[in-house]
Symmetry: C2
Subunit: 134 residues, 2 copies
Amino acid sequence: MNSHPLKLIIEACDRAISTRDFDALMAYYADDAALVVKPGMVARGKADIRRAFIAISDYFGDRLKVNQGRMEVIEGADNALVIMETHLCFPDDAGGETQTTRRATYVFRREADGTWRCTVDNSYGTTLLDDESR
Amino acid sequence: MNSHPLKLIIEACDRAISTRDFDALMAYYADDAALVVKPGMVARGKADIRRAFIAISDYFGDRLKVNQGRMEVIEGADNALVIMETHLCFPDDAGGETQTTRRATYVFRREADGTWRCTVDNSYGTTLLDDESR
């Protein structure tokens, strides 16, 4: 599935985040999309999602490295469910680096003009069910 | 999230499968929805999805028991990403019972009349990435 157009779109989003080009980034989101910022916290709508990305970027600066791994896309009824391995590398409090791999789940919608837009961005995948406190 | 209308819809789908009411079941799917039958095999469109459910039901008969566990719903832009724990219990070849838990991922779309319809049904969740042979 490596040649799926959504792979290029997700890579463009990663580039936009790392260059802090939030205008370019938000062009890939539907107006009233949802972003899981962390389990239990969801940003809704482009303005909130943009603020969340800016806050995340400010926190990590250029110290957060993101690499995409394996990807599966299941298209149905002008939606696409993307399941994607995401490798994250960021500095930890001890002065070292923490590496972690997530399996993200994204929902995209194909608009009437053929453009794909993200409607639900959940980089936590099915681990949302791990949080026993909720 | 237990009161979300999609919980009732998914429960109604489970009942429809166990009573082999495939007309009722298919009413919850978009016309050109996709169903992951197993990793690497996707049924597309109502006719194919119906055939797949009939084949699964014929294979297991009434010996497959399904219980839903915890559920998270993230709504964005008239889509909903549902992440759901599904407990399966079925007879194994040794005459005993196999119990397994999956974390399913479903995508629903809210139609103009407010009706939710499933566009992507992937009961394998992020484990689709486990299949190293692909």
